[in-house]
Structures are given as structure tokens and as C-alpha cells.
């Protein structure tokens, strides 16, 4: 049983825009690349060139179809990684203290040297955001690129999570959601950002921005198509008059 901090100085997290996510998996693979080479054990791959290849990923994109009452079915791309919850059940369930939430920024991390790979935290996480690395036997999860965001060896503009830096559509935003004046907090307010599965009571820091309404077919522009003519002869008469005015 591990304790959560009563308060964190910041609430760093991601804001993910479901209106612009095209489901390209750029964030998934950029995350895999950075975190294979950096924090903790490599993200391994089993059966890499064989049947049922399966590796460790800290971020995955799921796709769903939604059928509205009216109109065509819609496709939603839904990236999912650790949401760095304020009431993170993965931390409180950890028997060794390996899982912890940082006081200074609220990032939830696994101290791999204390992790015994029991898997309780993955079981406790309602979002399925943790994966046990099969080669190393330790629990892996999104670190919010803790080794990038403060990294003095990186140019300042690159001090953001790999997934945010790489997202081609600009659908991922990083910042302090505990600060009402931050860009991410403003974005959440403007766009009606929401919590994933709030009924779980985990108080996730990451937020999702909803897709805008789609396929609205309100026809207010019909008068614009008022015919000037229905056949070529009448059209030429209109043309002549209009060209005079040009």
C-alpha cells in the first residue's frame, strides 16, 4: 500500500483533441522510440517477426464507430495512455512503493528497481494504461516523458513529451492543468474538455476535447443557387449583362 501525495505543486498532463486526431499512430510510435531508448528498461517486443507479435507500448490508439440516431456512422480515433490521475488507484494498490505520484508535478511513475512485476497496478487501473514488459518483468507506463520535459540537454522548445512533439495534426497538448491560466486549461474550458470515465472517481489529469458535431445539414444557402438561367441561351443573355457590369 503506497500513499498518494495530499497535494501536488503542478498537475502536468495531456489534452487530446478527438476532433482532429486522424488515428495515424504517430504518437504511439514516437513514444515507443523515445521510451525504448530512455527511462528505465527498453520496451521489448515478443515474436517480433512471427505469429501474434506483441510488444510493450505506453500509448495506443483505439478506433471506434459511432452510429448517431440520424445520419451516417462516424469513426472516432481515441489515443489512450496513463491519465496521471489525482486519485490514482495504481499507486495506492502497489505493495512495494514502486508506483508513486510525484509531488512536484503529479506525474505517476514506476520506480523499476522496486517493481516486482506483480501486476496489481495494471489490474487496478480502470483504463488499462499499464503494460508489464515481458522481457524485463517490470511494469511500464507513460512517464509524460519526465526525462524530456525538464531535460537541459534538449533545446527548450523540445522539452515536451515525444507524442506531443511529433503529433502531425496538432491534436495533443501538454501543460499544467492545475493552473487555470495555462493554455491547456483554457483549451479545456473553451472546448468543453472532459474526464475519461469520471464515475471511476480517479480524477484523471489528462483531458479529452470532444469532436465537433458532424454532418450537420442545415440548408440556409439555397437562395445562392437561384438560377440565372436554365438553358444555354438564357445563360448567355445573363452573361452579357453581367460582363457589362464588370
Amino acid at each position: 500500500m503506497t500513499q498518494l501525495p495530499a497535494h501536488t505543486e503542478k498537475k502536468l498532463g495531456l489534452v487530446i483533441d478527438l476532433d482532429t486526431c486522424v488515428g495515424c499512430h504517430a504518437c504511439v510510435v514516437s513514444c515507443k522510440g523515445w521510451n525504448t531508448e530512455n527511462y528505465g528498461a527498453a520496451l521489448s517486443d515478443q515474436n517480433a517477426y512471427g505469429k501474434d507479435p506483441s510488444g510493450t507500448f505506453l500509448n495506443r490508439v483505439h478506433s471506434y464507430e459511432v452510429q448517431p440516431d440520424q445520419g451516417a456512422a462516424q469513426t472516432i480515433h481515441f489515443p489512450k495512455s496513463c491519465l496521471h490521475c489525482e486519485d490514482a488507484p495504481c499507486v495506492t494498490v502497489c505493495p512495494t512503493g514502486a508506483s508513486y505520484k510525484r509531488v512536484e508535478d503529479g506525474i505517476v511513475l514506476v520506480n523499476e528497481s522496486d517493481c516486482i512485476g506483480c501486476g496489481l497496478c495494471a489490474w487496478a487501473c480502470p483504463y488499462g494504461a499499464r503494460e508489464l514488459d515481458q522481457a524485463e518483468g517490470v511494469m511500464k507506463k507513460c512517464t509524460l516523458c519526465v526525462d524530456r520535459i525538464y531535460n537541459e540537454n534538449l533545446p527548450e522548445e523540445d522539452r515536451q513529451p515525444a507524442c506531443v512533439r511529433t503529433c502531425p495534426a496538432g491534436a495533443r497538448h501538454f501543460g499544467d492543468l492545475g493552473d487555470e491560466t495555462s493554455d491547456v486549461s483554457k483549451l479545456v474550458k473553451e472546448r468543453g474538455g472532459f474526464d475519461l470515465m469520471p464515475e471511476q472517481g480517479t480524477k484523471p489529469v489528462n483531458k479529452y476535447l470532444p469532436p465537433r458535431p458532424k454532418d450537420e445539414q442545415i440548408d440556409i444557402l439555397a437562395p445562392l443557387l437561384e438560377p440565372v438561367a436554365a438553358e444555354p441561351k438564357g445563360f448567355l443573355g445573363w452573361l452579357d449583362k453581367t460582363l457589362e457590369k464588370l
Binding site: 501525495p5 482532429t20 486526431c21 486522424v22 488515428g23 499512430h25 504517430a26 504511439v28 510510435v29 514516437s30 515507443k32 523515445w34 531508448e37 527511462y39 528498461a41 527498453a42 521489448s44 517486443d45 515478443q46 515474436n47 517480433a48 517477426y49 512471427g50 505469429k51 501474434d52 507479435p53 510488444g55 478506433s63 452510429q67 451516417a72 456512422a73 462516424q74 469513426t75 480515433h77 509531488v103 511513475l109 528497481s113 522496486d114 519526465v146 526525462d147 531535460n151 522548445e157 515525444a162 512533439r165 511529433t166 502531425p168 496538432g170 465537433r212 458532424k214 450537420e216 445539414q217 444557402l221 445562392l224 443557387l225 438561367a229 436554365a230 445563360f235 448567355l236 452573361l239 453581367t242
Partner: protein
């Protein structure tokens, strides 16, 4: 609380090397982080014009591609029968001896017996030079089976199309409409652009039978019936004409809409454009009412102009357009059923286009001068933009459909205006600025000019003196007179049939012709292995270059192993498929950020060696010695025109850009600059480029062309009329009789739409089957990537609700899919967001056992499949005794997306393998490791 102390500032890498990605054809800038001389991490280059720091899934997985177990290790000579995959490794010297032994006599006796086709080559200005030096007319890359319809329709109509040629003005547009769109063409710029547009709240329309990717985020999805895009577009044109919502000023000033068309039915010039005694296009000047040259200072070209001479009336192009597009056949009510879009919706979309273009016009204050000498104080923008590539191209009506889309943009007055579609340097260029095709063969000599180009009438066709095709692929013949990119998809079947003639050697690069890059895959495999009555292969010699153990490797007699993209020199050249942006001219390089650890060589360097040994003009010095030691030497020192070489940046002493002498330090200067060179388009040259003298003068300075060449957009494409006139019996070069009616019907100089359903037996096969390329996997050379195959490891057949329910399909079921040509049995999955008469799957995920160093039970080989087995290079027999090519009759573009099928539920195959289950080939590189833990740092 006791928190562990962690290192928040670990060392990221020893060094960052900046080069160009090659995980698809997008060509983004990448930062390759090195540790201990090895590749540790790849990210996007923030300074690069294409991707500005972002990088897609493919690019980020480059490390797995670079280290793939499927990499070829050394040159190889075939030891077993073709297709067996049995090879022995040889030295490069032995490989060159074998190649020269084959090619030298071919060149000496009859160079046309070499067919040299370079697939997804990004160095065509180099490989075509090699082929010209060899003297064979048989050269092309993969454009003919990809998107030539879009490219050629764009060039002929307005001097450029999309992607390399132009892009929506993402920063200003208020409405974007994308048709089709392969998710791996210009992929990062489109995603960045859509992100910007959506952040501004502007509307995105997706016109596509499948609602995935970009269409999933589109604000409005138009799930059109495949192959009817042209009809939908012409219906929008009809509505806009009827309502007078067209940019009359733009059409009068900048297009050939006011140019007079010869109306004399008895003349051999009937339907051609009228010219004055100086051979200038003729318009009626609205001020005087008299004919005048289109470019005369002060002329006011009259869209309604006509001239009556000797009892014959010659009317403007615009009058012909009005007559054609006001016809009720294009009324929304008339096209609704065929397109699957209701008449109300077509009308509403037309009204939205008109509203944004005309009621929401924007202005950029800027003085500029047009080619008639008139000075303007602003650029007026019509902020509607479009994008499209392969989806509307890969149909037999694709050329005219792409033309229709370009015409729609032009009548709205959006092209080259703020908020509309903007060209990227070195485009726009009029069709006349491009070469014409060349095909004159002289034994032992170079070809008489570049192979590929643009035909302007029957005189430009690639025909021999007896009228037979000069090229093995029959490009630029009466069967497809405007086949500007060649027809790679016809090479193997024509070579096997010996029609139009037999060849000796097939030499290919980066082209998986025995698998996903061919129609009729099984048939092509048989053609590659077929033997004649003497027991010799019908295609006697096959030389192939690839970096990886692809399916095609096992069909070659000699393998020249290429490097990975991080081990090679390349230039992304303005002479080729450039990477510029609307506001900047740019080119880039690849360089060996790591040296190969295998006995492999960049294919272009191998061609320098072969060119030297064969004594090819352009590849040897005057004393006969090899001219270029390797590709880097060529990139630095080749001079195409005085002062112009493969790279435009850092010429002369390193401070000249565009034109200048060769600079021995040029590649170092590129490396120093982050792997690319870029210069911004001046602000007074930013828009209206075809007519803007500020741009034209700048373009000459930068070497895009040698003198200003302003031109009019060709709403009416006169060369097409010239082919029609020949079919009507005029002129000395005449088409064969069986093609006359088709040429008359399809080569309309104004965009039309025609159905391809009957040819594909849609009455018996009512469902259209499509493929798409996923964003996270390239369709050509990436499908064994250890990380990406976990995202796209197999490809179910996606089935819409109607067909799903008709067949009582359930999760895990299999379907039999039958076309007029073949049958496959494959796993199905349900997708509701899909046109109800369309099925589809991801392209080229299916792999052959033994290829790509995959295990034999990899899902790509067991469940994965190709639709290619259902598609034939010829259309089903019509009963006229002839077999017609499954291609666009104008350009020869492969009509992949005309495929019609029937779908029925099937029992799972006994081996639970997708059918046909083509037997394994032997892997010349062994198999990959079971597990990966990839980490260089501690």
C-alpha cells in the same frame, strides 16, 4: 514522502545527424540521434519545410527499418529455378561482370531489348539519364500505376496538380474538400494542414466511400459511390453555372475560356483554338468587339465572344462550356442515384462552395504586375480549396475526373489565390515547358531525348515508322496517347507475350512486381517463370535491385543489394519530384549517417559504376574512364543545363542558389544546413504565379525555367481535340479503326464523365472493391517493420452493414470474393461508416511466406491477402474478339479502383489461411529474431 531521485536531464545522444526520411514518399526532414555511432532515436526536424518537426508513425519507426532482418547483405546470383529464392552471394565485381555481359550486347545490337523500370524510385532525373545513355526507349517509374491521371490532368489543365505541385492554402482557406486521398501521400503536410484548418473552425469535407483517417475527422462526410466523383463534380459545376456563381473576371483574364474555337465543321482545324498570324491565341476584345491576341496590353477578353467568318461562327470556349454543363444530364436529380448523393445535398454543397468563394472572399494587399503589363494593388482570394490524389485517379475515367476537379477549382477562381490552391515552386509550368516523349533507338547510341513527357498531338506519339508501338509498355500509343508516366504495370505481360516485341533483359528497382505492385499477381509470377519450347525463360534475364528481401527478389537472376535510407546519398531535386512549399523553394539530400555494415551499395552508385563500364554517354569522360565515382559525385558535379545541377542550393562558392557552378563542398553545406536548402518566395510573387511577372522573373533567376513563360489555364485542352480529329480521319498519323470510336468519345477537350461499370461487368458483380494505404504502414517497402506490424499485422476485408446483414456475417467469418478474373477467400470485419456498395482492405499488408524475413506463421502471410488476385491487366472479354487494357484510355493509368466483385459468406478454409495461399519461397536472408529489446544506452 521519499521519492526516488531520477535523472531529469539524461544525455540524449552523442550527436544529431539531419537527413531525409524514406519511410514513404513524403520526404520529411529527420533528426537522427546517434549513440556510439549507432542510430538511437529518430524525430522530425523542426526547421524542415515539409514536416516542421512533426513525424508520422512510419518515420518514428525508421530505426526498425534500418535494422530490419530482411536487409539484403551482398550481391547475389540465382542458383535455383526462378521463384525458389535460392541464391549464392557474390562480389560486386562478379555482379558487374554478369550485368555487363548481359547488357553490352543488348546495347550494341538493339537497346530496346532492355526494359528498365524503376518503381518507387526518387531519383528519376538520374535513372532516366542512365536509360537515355543506354539508348533504350523502355524506361519509366511507377507513376503509370499510381497517380498519373492526377499529375497529367493537372499539368495539361493548369500547369500542376497536388502534392509535389501544389497544396491548399492551409493558413487562409475557409473550406477544404478532399476527394479520396491515400493517407501516405503528402501525409504529414495534410495532417498539419487539417489540424490548422480545424483549429480555425473552418469546414472540412471528405468525399470518400470509406470514413477512415482524414474522412473520420471531416466535418461532413460524403460517402460517394466509387468511380462517380467526376459525375458529382460536374453536377456541382452545373449548379454553379446555372446560378451564375462563377468567377467571370478570373476566367476571362487567366484561362482559355474566352479563346475562340474553330466552328467550321468542314475544316481540318474544326474544334481547334483560333490563333492570329503570330500564332497567338485569339480572343474577342470586349472593348472593340474585334479579335485580338490574348496577351495584348489592355485587352479585355470577352467570355461571350464569337466571330462570324464566311457564314461560320467561331465561339468562345466558355460558350461551349455553358452549353455542355447546363445540360440536364448533370442536374443533381439526374446524378443522385449513380453517385449515391441526394440532389438536395449536391445543391447544398454547391451553395456552400459559392458562399465561401464569393461571399467570404479575402484580400492580400500587395502590388504586383501581370503578364499583360497591368499593375494590381492586391491579390483577391477565393478561400475554397481542394485536395485529391489516387482515389479519383485510379479509374478508367480518372483523367477526365481529375480534369473536372481542376475545372471546378478554376471556375470558382480559387487556383493560385489566397485561401485557394497554391502551386509549389518549380511549378506552375505550362504543358509546353515539359519535354515530349522520345523513342528513337540507334544501336550503340544514346536515345534521342528524354523518354517521358507530354504529347500535344498525334505527331508526338511513340510509334515506330510502321506505326507499331516503340515502347514495350505501349505508352504514348493510340491506346493511351497521353501516358506521361509510362505504364509499368504492362511491362511484364507485354514482355511475356512478346507484344509489341520480345525483350532480352528486364532491369528493375524498388518494384515489387511479383506481389503487390502488379495486377494479376499469380499470372505475373507465372510469366516471370515461364519457359519457351527450348526450356529457356521467356523473359531471358532479370536484374533487380532492392534493399530488402521482398517477394520480387526471388524472381531475379542477379540481385544488386541497395542500402537502407540512412546509409545512402540521395538528392530530392527540383529536377525530379521536389519538396517545396507554396511559400518556399527547397531541395534536400540524404547522406550516410551510418555506413553500411553489409556488402551493399546505393543503387544509383551501382548505376554510376555500370554506366562507366558500359561506356554510356554522360557516364564516361572523354578518355572513356568512369565519370562519376558514385552518386554523391554525380549529385555534386552533374550539370544539366548551364549553371543548373541536381541540387539548387549552395552552388558556386557556396553562396549562389538556383544557378551557379558546381561546388565541391555542396553536400557538406547541405549537411551543415540540416540536410536541406530553402529560400522563400518573395511576397509580391506569392500568388497568381502563372501570370505574375514578379514570380516569373524570380523563377528564371532560381533556374525553374530559362525565360518567363506566363500562360493561360487550359479549361479546353487542345491536344485532346487533335487526337479526336485524327480519329475523325484528319491528318497523316491515323489510329487503328477499332480505336476510333473510343478516342472520339473519351478525348473530349472539355471534362466529361463516363461509366466503367459495363466493362467491369457490374451487372453480375455489383460491389466495388477498394484498397487504402494506412497512415502507419507504407505499402511498398515497409511491411515487415517490427513496430508497425503490431499496428497493421493483418488486413480484414471491411464490409458495410448492408452486405454484412445480407450474408449474416458474424465476427470471425470468412467471405469468398469473386471478380470476373478470380476468387479469394478472406476474413471479414464489419464497418458501418462505409458506402453500402463498397468493400475494402488495407493495401499490401498481405505478404508471401518466406519474404521479408518473416516467420511462416506471421499473420501477414496467413490471414493477410491481396486484392491484386482479383484484378487483371486486361478487362474481361467484351465479345468483340479484342482484349482491352484495364487502364485509362487517355493516360494508361492502371484502373485499380474499377474492380467489381461479388461477396458471399464462405466456410473457413481448412488451413484457416487466406486463399489463394501461394507456397513459400526460400528466404535468402534467413528469419528475424524472436524477441527485441532495443536499447543502446544503459
Amino acid at each position: 514522502m521519499n521519492q526516488p531521485v531520477i535523472n531529469l536531464s539524461p544525455k540524449v545522444s552523442d550527436e544529431v545527424r539531419k537527413t531525409t526520411c524514406y519511410m514513404c514518399a513524403c520526404r520529411c526532414g529527420i533528426n537522427v540521434h546517434m549513440k556510439d555511432g549507432k542510430v538511437a532515436y529518430i524525430e522530425g526536424n523542426k526547421d524542415h519545410p515539409v514536416n516542421q518537426g512533426v513525424l508520422c508513425a512510419k518515420g518514428s519507426a525508421g530505426i526498425m527499418q534500418h535494422n530490419a532482418p530482411s536487409r539484403l547483405k551482398a550481391p547475389m546470383k540465382r542458383t535455383g529455378p526462378r521463384g525458389s529464392g535460392e541464391f549464392e552471394e557474390i562480389t560486386w565485381e562478379e555482379a558487374y561482370d554478369i550485368a555487363v555481359g548481359i547488357l553490352e550486347p543488348v546495347r550494341r545490337d538493339n537497346p530496346e531489348k532492355l526494359a528498365f523500370f524503376t518503381g518507387r524510385d526518387q531519383s528519376q532525373s538520374f535513372t532516366s539519364l542512365w536509360a537515355q545513355g543506354f539508348g533504350t526507349p523502355n524506361y519509366a517509374a511507377h507513376g503509370g500505376f499510381c497517380s498519373v491521371n492526377m499529375a497529367a490532368a493537372g499539368i495539361y489543365t493548369m500547369g500542376g496538380a497536388f502534392w509535389e505541385f501544389g497544396q491548399p492554402d492551409w493558413d487562409r482557406t475557409k473550406m477544404v474538400m478532399i476527394f479520396g486521398v491515400a493517407e501516405d501521400h503528402d501525409s504529414n503536410p495534410i495532417k498539419m494542414g487539417l489540424g490548422k484548418v480545424k483549429a480555425r473552425g473552418a469546414k472540412v469535407y471528405g468525399v470518400n466511400p470509406i470514413r477512415s483517417g482524414y474522412n473520420a475527422v471531416a466535418d461532413e462526410w460524403v460517402g460517394i459511390t466509387p468511380g462517380t466523383d467526376g459525375l458529382f463534380i460536374l453536377s456541382l459545376v452545373h449548379e454553379l453555372f446555372k446560378a451564375g456563381k462563377i468567377d467571370l473576371h478570373y476566367l476571362a483574364q487567366w484561362t482559355n475560356a474566352p479563346v475562340l474555337v474553330n466552328g467550321d465543321e468542314k475544316s481540318e482545324d474544326f474544334g481547334l483554338l483560333m490563333r492570329d498570324k503570330d500564332n497567338k491565341l485569339m480572343v474577342i476584345d470586349r472593348t472593340t468587339g474585334k479579335p485580338a491576341a490574348f496577351d495584348k496590353k489592355g485587352v479585355k477578353p470577352d467570355l461571350a465572344g464569337s466571330q462570324r467568318v464566311k457564314g461560320v461562327t467561331h465561339r468562345s470556349v466558355f460558350q461551349h462550356m455553358a452549353e455542355k454543363y447546363l445540360d440536364p444530364q448533370y442536374a443533381p436529380e439526374a446524378v443522385a442515384e449513380k453517385t449515391g448523393i441526394t440532389a438536395e445535398r449536391i445543391k447544398r454543397i454547391a451553395a456552400e462552395l459559392a458562399d465561401v468563394a464569393f461571399n467570404q472572399a479575402i484580400e492580400v494587399k500587395q502590388e504586383w504586375t501581370d503578364f499583360r503589363g497591368e499593375t494590381h494593388d492586391k491579390f483577391v482570394g477565393r478561400p475554397v480549396s481542394f485536395h485529391s490524389m489516387r482515389g479519383i485517379s485510379a479509374h478508367a475515367n480518372g483523367f477526365q475526373t481529375c480534369r473536372a476537379l481542376h475545372m471546378l477549382q478554376i471556375i470558382l477562381g480559387t487556383v493560385e489565390t489566397p485561401g485557394g490552391m497554391r502551386f509549389k515552386p518549380p511549378y506552375p509550368k505550362p504543358p509546353e515547358a515539359h519535354p515530349k516523349p522520345h523513342c528513337k533507338v540507334t544501336p550503340g547510341q544514346a536515345l534521342d531525348g528524354p523518354h517521358l513527357g507530354f504529347t500535344h498531338g498525334p505527331d508526338d506519339l511513340a510509334l515506330k515508322e510502321d506505326g507499331s508501338p516503340a515502347r514495350i509498355d505501349k505508352a504514348f500509343t493510340w491506346e493511351n496517347p497521353m501516358s506521361s508516366h509510362g505504364m509499368m504495370h504492362m511491362v511484364i505481360s507485354n514482355a511475356h507475350a512478346g507484344v509489341p516485341y520480345k525483350i532480352d533483359t528486364l532491369f528493375m528497382y524498388m518494384a515489387n512486381m511479383s506481389w503487390n505492385s502488379s495486377m494479376n499477381t499469380r499470372g505475373v509470377i507465372d510469366m516471370l517463370t515461364d519457359k519457351d519450347e527450348n526450356g529457356d525463360y521467356v523473359i531471358p534475364n532479370i536484374i533487380y535491385s532492392d534493399a530488402y528481401s521482398s517477394e520480387m527478389v526471388s524472381y531475379a537472376d542477379l540481385i544488386l543489394p541497395d542500402t537502407t535510407y540512412l546509409e545512402r546519398h540521395d538528392c530530392i531535386s527540383l529536377l525530379d519530384r521536389p519538396i517545396c512549399e507554396a511559400d518556399a523553394v527547397a531541395d534536400a539530400i540524404r547522406w550516410p549517417v551510418v555506413e553500411p555494415d553489409r556488402d551493399v551499395k546505393g543503387f544509383q552508385s551501382a548505376l554510376c559504376d555500370l554506366g562507366g563500364r558500359l561506356g554510356l554517354p554522360g557516364f564516361v569522360n572523354e578518355d572513356g574512364s568512369q565519370k562519376y565515382q558514385d552518386y554523391a559525385d554525380y549529385i555534386t558535379n552533374h550539370i544539366r543545363r548551364p549553371g543548373v545541377g541536381p541540387l539548387a542550393g549552395f552552388r558556386g562558392n557556396g553562396d549562389e542558389h538556383g544557378r551557379g557552378e558546381s561546388n565541391p563542398g555542396q553536400l557538406d553545406a547541405y549537411i551543415e544546413n540540416g540536410g536541406f536548402w530553402m529560400e522563400h518566395v518573395p511576397e509580391d510573387a506569392a500568388f497568381f504565379k502563372p501570370w505574375n511577372m514578379n514570380y516569373q522573373d524570380w523563377a528564371v533567376k532560381k533556374s525553374f525555367f530559362d525565360k518567363p513563360m506566363p500562360y493561360l489555364f487550359n479549361l479546353y485542352v487542345e491536344p485532346m481535340r487533335k487526337f479526336q480529329l485524327a480519329a475523325e480521319g484528319y491528318g497523316t498519323r491515323q489510329p487503328p479503326d477499332h480505336l476510333r470510336e473510343r478516342i472520339k468519345a473519351t478525348m473530349d477537350p472539355l471534362p466529361i464523365w463516363y461509366s466503367n461499370e459495363d466493362e467491369n461487368k457490374a451487372d453480375e458483380y455489383p460491389v466495388t472493391a477498394l484498397t487504402q494505404r494506412p497512415m502507419a504502414m507504407y505499402h511498398s517497402w515497409g511491411s515487415q517493420n517490427a513496430w508497425l506490424r503490431q499496428i497493421h499485422g493483418h488486413n480484414p476485408l471491411y464490409v458495410p452493414t448492408k452486405i454484412w446483414e445480407e450474408n449474416n456475417f458474424k465476427e470471425g467469418d470468412w467471405a469468398k470474393v469473386t471478380s470476373p478474373h478470380g476468387e479469394i477467400t478472406v476474413p471479414v470485419a464489419h464497418q458501418a461508416a462505409l458506402n453500402e456498395n463498397t468493400i475494402w482492405t488495407w493495401n499490401a499488408i498481405g505478404k508471401r511466406k518466406g519474404a521479408w524475413a518473416l516467420e511462416d506463421d506471421a499473420p501477414e502471410t496467413t490471414k493477410g491477402f491481396l486484392l491484386n488476385h482479383l484484378i487483371h491487366e486486361l478487362l474481361p472479354p467484351k465479345g468483340d474478339g479484342l482484349r482491352w487494357s484495364n487502364s485509362d484510355p487517355i493516360t494508361g493509368q492502371a484502373a485499380w479502383f474499377d474492380l467489381k466483385v461479388r461477396v458471399t459468406r464462405a466456410d473457413a478454409p481448412a488451413d484457416t489461411q487466406s486463399q489463394p495461399n501461394i507456397p513459400a519461397q526460400k528466404s535468402p536472408v534467413g528469419k528475424g529474431p524472436e524477441n527485441l529489446t532495443w536499447k543502446l544506452g544503459k
